[in-house]
């Protein structure tokens, strides 16, 4: 039952979320809302060591939205803007795949658990909301990568 949606990884991140806090040295934040269900997430980004990103979030909402925020924060923390931008694209592509994509575990790690979400149009936004907040905050903070981000900013 709903096994394709609620992977163990998702339930685990939902019950034991990582990265939930705010960021003292944040350069920008982004607050996103899913108006159909009221899910909310705020993501902060700052600069870490060697051009890497620091990421934190708080949120409330369904297991998918909260687990996704947790997985996202774990996955992108410490990576540079170019890598994060590629991860964002890879996750977006997975969400739009309608269940027809075999995600690359080497790239997306725990985030591959969300593959099943792409079969449920009403839940895709839940999984994406933290990623949208991340991208928005990153762009506001100027933590962008010319090659991968420039197109989408216009």
């Amino acid at each position: 039952m709903s096994d394709d949606l609620y992977q163990e990884i998702i339930l685990d991140h939902y019950k034991n979320p990582r990265g939930v806090h705010s960021l003292d040295h944040a350069l920008a934040e982004s607050h996103q809302v899913n108006p159909t269900c009221g899910d909310e997430v705020t993501v902060w980004v700052g600069e870490g060591d060697n051009g890497s990103l620091d990421v934190a979030y708080v949120g409330q909402g369904c297991s998918i939205s909260q687990a996704s925020a947790s997985v996202m924060s774990e996955l992108v923390a410490g990576k540079d803007a170019a890598t994060v931008s590629k991860l964002e694209d890879a996750f977006m592509e997975l969400m739009q795949s309608k269940g027809n994509l075999q995600p690359d575990e080497d790239v997306l790690e725990d985030a591959i658990a969300f593959a099943g979400v792409s079969k449920y149009p009403a839940r895709i936004k839940c999984a994406l909301i933290s990623w949208m907040a991340l991208k928005d905050a990153r762009i506001k903070a100027g933590l962008t990568d010319h090659a991968s981000d420039i197109d989408e900013e216009n």
């Binding site: 039952m1 609620y6 269900c37 009221g38 899910d39 909402g61 297991s63």
Partner: protein
């Protein structure tokens, strides 16, 4: 008289289908109802025999179409105790509410430009509009917009802990121009004392509006008996097609209002620089209307009348009582709204400890049980109860006790799956 649910179900083709590999248990009629075959037949028959533009042609088809459209108006008016010139067809209830809200902002604008308008619709800073904290967004945002455009103030009745209107919080005063209240809350299920509220509105010299989206489909309603001046509801929630809603208004008031949508069929005389308007209801029906939808809705009304609205209400009352009792037996499940079936309709919202309403709904859906999750377009009501959202069960005449049982079992299954069922309850359900 008890409904023969099996027989009723056989009239609704969609109820025979499977979803996610299991039989559908449709419990989202508060969002929109399903349609019996007779309604679909009527809509199709209209297109296949009499389709033409109404009120505009003199040929045979146009006469037949006009006759079908106006007869539908009569049937629908009769259903709520109104006369046909009090019924305006809109695309949904939302448009009907906006139509009256815009009467205020349009009259205020015209008054400001020196055009003569009925003073009851002119708003000035200091004036206020009264709603409640349990309004559907459709009966909240249009009034917020009117206030934003005119400088009037929005005030509201609060809600008690058990989901009733807090009559102590009554904000109606001598500056109130209109009081607009939901008859039955779509999220809490509460049936409000609208007769009292309409009386209070009138004593203060204000007009009264009732959002009947969740009452007209579910119980006998006589619009005049409510004491209201206006009411709105939608066709798609009462076995009718999508794309049609209703405004009822007292004739005298409708004819005192400036037009809303303007264009063809709502005019009397047209010059390039000035036009005059037809009397209501035509004044408010600009353009080619939803003719086939009106015809189909009249058939839906006939279907409901044959079953009897008293019987529909009684059936839903029984289901609600049964469902409330079963839910209250479930550990970790909390009803948002009146916990008993007194002055209460069949919309039952609840939350489950340790689970988000969205997840509850999703797992119910995986068992074929279609319920709605979210804020149900009543976000301020969710805030009032400090929940991000609820899961909502809304049965209708085609639902049975077995459907209520299926819902309850699905909730327990969701709790089990998420591991939030209190230890003591894991066995024996």
């Amino acid at each position: 008289m008890a409904l023969n649910v099996d027989e009723i179900r056989s009239d609704f083709p969609i109820l025979k289908r499977d979803v996610r590999g299991v039989p559908l248990v449709y419990l989202d009629s508060g969002a929109t109802s399903q349609k019996p075959s007779v309604v679909l037949d009527a809509e199709r028959a209209f297109y296949e025999t009499s389709n033409a533009a109404v009120h505009r042609g003199a040929h045979a088809l146009a006469e037949e179409a006009t006759d079908a459209y106006e007869s539908a108006r009569e049937v629908i008016a009769g259903f709520v105790g109104a006369s046909s010139d009090e019924i305006v067809f809109t695309k949904n209830a939302t448009e009907a509410i906006n139509l009256v809200a815009y009467a205020f902002s349009n009259a205020t604008d015209k008054h400001r430009q020196g055009i003569e308008v009925d003073p009851r619709f002119v708003l000035r800073p200091g004036d206020n509009i009264v709603v409640t904290e349990m309004e559907h967004h459709a009966n909240l945002i249009p009034w917020q917009e009117v206030c934003a455009k005119t400088g009037a103030t929005l005030k509201w009745f609060g809600i008690t802990a058990d989901g009733r209107l807090d009559m102590e919080s009554n904000p109606i005063d001598q500056n109130t121009k209109i009081v607009s209240v939901v008859h039955q809350s779509n999220i809490l299920g509460t049936i409000n004392p609208i007769e009292d509220i309409m009386r209070m509105a009138h004593s203060a010299g204000a007009l009264g509006f009732v959002d009947m989206c969740q009452s007209v489909p579910h119980m006998p309603v006589d619009v005049h008996a409510t004491g209201a001046d206006f009411a709105a509801w939608s066709g798609h929630k009462m076995l009718g097609p999508t794309g049609i809603g209703l405004l009822w208004g007292k004739s005298e008031l409708l004819n005192a209002m400036p037009p809303f949508l303007s264009g063809g069929s709502m005019i009397e005389m047209v010059n390039m620089d000035h036009s005059t308007y037809a009397p209501a209801p035509q004044r408010f029906e600009a353009g080619v209307p939803m003719v086939a939808q009106a015809v189909a809705l009249a058939t839906a009304v006939g279907y409901l009348e044959q079953i009897g609205m008293d019987n529909v209400a009684e059936h839903e009352h029984e289901l609600t009582e049964y469902l409330l009792n079963r839910l209250q037996e479930l550990p970790g499940v909390h009803i948002i709204g009146p916990p008993n079936a007194i002055d209460r309709g069949s919309a039952v919202s609840f939350v489950v400890d340790g689970m988000h309403p969205h997840d509850v709904g999703h797992i119910m859906d995986s068992r074929g049980v279609a319920v709605r999750v979210g804020h149900h377009c009543a976000w301020p009501t969710c805030r009032r109860f400090d929940v991000p959202a609820t899961t909502r069960i809304t049965p209708y005449l085609y639902n049975s006790r077995a459907d209520m049982d299926a819902a309850v079992e699905a909730i327990v299954a969701a709790q089990e799956f998420f591991g939030v069922l209190p230890e003591s309850e894991k066995v024996g359900l």
